[in-house]
């Protein structure tokens, strides 16, 4: 299950007073362009695709049953609306499914000694970098599906406000937990 390489997390800069901001996987210069990105957990992509598929199918099924059942005869206008809805939802579901396949493959994160970066977006690519120094608190969010598949969503809150919460979903639980611990152990947090 752990195809995604577990992140080696150690506060290498614990004692040294010199500034360094090396990526926590490999050697590179401290520049955002040379980050070594990691993809989200493959199981997350799979779960998300299936969930989209199943939820769309479930809604379609309910509507189909509504249309065909004879217990509560519906007026013809509503039946008409329902058939349009089925068409629309089917279309939206398909587009969404295809979009998720493409978009989820474009989501990456990268952890360095001093900051964490998340990149996403198909047409509008967005790279958000959150310095660990500015993190106020850390949360792991796990919904029912995420609990079942051992996944977690890491949320980092800064003083930038709720709208700018740094969020990486689709992490393996063990990864998310070690990232959380890494952030909490970061020496800059306690002195902040």
């Amino acid at each position: 299950m752990t195809i995604q390489g577990t992140v080696e997390l150690e506060n290498t800069s614990q004692e040294s007073s010199e500034f360094s901001n090396k990526p926590l996987i490999d050697e590179a210069s401290p520049s955002l362009q040379h980050l070594i990105y990691q993809p989200l957990a493959p199981i997350y992509l799979k779960v998300r695709r299936r969930f989209t598929l199943f939820s769309t199918a479930a809604i379609l099924l309910v509507m189909f049953i509504c249309q065909k059942q004879h217990f509560f005869p519906l007026p013809p206008q509503i039946l008409n609306i329902i058939s349009y809805l089925i068409l629309a939802i089917g279309l939206i579901g398909t587009i969404r499914y295809l979009y998720i396949i493409i978009a989820d493959k474009k989501k990456f994160f990268a952890l360095r000694e001093q900051d964490i970066t998340y990149r996403s977006g198909v047409v509008f690519q967005k790279t958000v970098t959150q310095p660990i120094l500015r993190i106020q608190h850390v949360e792991l969010k796990r919904g029912p599906l995420e609990r079942k598949f051992g996944l977690a969503c890491l949320q980092l809150f800064s003083a930038g406000g709720a709208a700018h919460t740094f969020e990486v979903s689709g992490l393996l639980l063990e990864n998310a937990e070690s990232m959380r611990q890494f952030i909490l152990d970061h020496k800059t947090i306690s002195s902040n």
Binding site: Q114, D115, T129, R134, S158, A159, G161
Partner: protein, 527 residues
Amino acid sequence: MTTAEQPEIQVYDEKTLPDWQRISPIAIVYFIASFIKGLLSNIVVFLPALYFSSDFIMENPTIWFPVIIALISILMIGTFLSFYFFQYRLNDDHIEIRSGVISKKHINLPFARIQNVKLEQPIYYRWFNYTCLQLDTAGSAKQEAKIVALKTDFAEQLKAEILAQHLEQVSSSAKQSDCDETVDQLLNNQSRPAEEIINTRSIPDLIIHGLTNNRIWIFLGGLAPFFDDFSNYIVAFFQNIGIDIQQLLTIADMPVWQITLYALTLTFIFLSIISLFSIAGSIFTFYQYTLSKLEDRYIRRSGLLTKHEVTMRLSRLQMVIRQQDWLDVLLKRINLKFEQINVSVNQNQMNAQNDKIIVPSIKPNECEKLIDDVYPENQMMTITYQRISKRFLLKNLGFILTPLFSVLALLFIISNQLIILTAVLPAYLLLSLLIFMRWYRWGYASDKNYTYIRKGFFGVDYFCFPTYKTQQVQYKQSWFLKRHQLCSINFILAAGMQSVPYINEKIGESLANDTLLKVESTKKSWM
């Protein structure tokens, strides 16, 4: 009050009160006032009920009396209970407040967590020498604590105590650093404060401020319940002097010049009324404005009816905004804003205005002096700003506005409605001009300490923040931008987001890297 060292110790003893304290009964007035305020601002909810029951009340006039008695007694009991259950307690470095009649609230606030100390003196407190002490935290707006009625002297002492606590904390946490001495100095100075007034605003300044900045919302907020009456009154007033607005506005069979004249006159009347209100609003908020400096603290005092005092420590300052609307540019006046952490997102504009440290309508030289005072070595007005790419114009003008206009124009020409076209054309030209000015103004610059952004349309706003105060950096690139080696950078600050779009991707990358380096290598706290 605290002029020598001995009273300082006394204050401390007096302050360490283990028991719960009640505030002065004058707080009842405050509770009544805030209840009435709440009622008025929610009157829209009650109006339908009142309207539907009005017939019933008219038929049974005797019911008024008991209803009013009942309402007043509920109000009295409610406010008395609010007062009775409002208690506070001070420990060494904590303040605890218990309040609430039905839903109880207990706040425990360590002094070290307090961001901001504000004093607010409503007009009815002035004769009794009481004041409200409001304590803001860095967290959510829910955690705000307000002690409703304290003797002004005691409130001042408490404020000094809380702010002194900060310094102690700083000194204890920065033991190893060499700034220990200066902190000690600050602590010593604490006992003999010498407040220095660095700016005042006169009534003419406030009139200019009212004219250039629309302060009318101060009234709109308070007058909302009376709008209907007000508009009816205006119509009646014009009828009395022989003008029938109803008839004026039936423009179908009037020559064009007459309509234009009427429109101009009405606009003029409307604008003058608005400006008058706006001037009054400006005076209400900023009457007897003083900005003073006490060590590392900036204190703003102002207000005609309710006096506000806002204190900000320099380290809490996140960003300086030098704001000029088009009228300000003509009159050479500037609004200077000292932005702190933006917790009051959901509060209404009026409160936010009172919370902020803003210096209204100052002259350029005064402005420069103030900015230099808070951010020494800043180059806000001297540095060369890099303009954003011309692609910004191409995208907004070329790909959005012009095609839209062309389609509309074509539609109107086909359907032979050229009159509408003559209305759309000026709108198109105006929007184009706005987009052009937006591009012309939008610039960025950075030096070794600060990041600068210039923005605006006909007016111009300058933003300046110490680069290390950035909370988060966002680098954005769409397909369109990528094709032309462009990108957008967003700086997330505690005071909000600042963005620089359409810059060269190499420059954008280095801006982002540089900002992160400054944040992470200096390890300075943002507050």
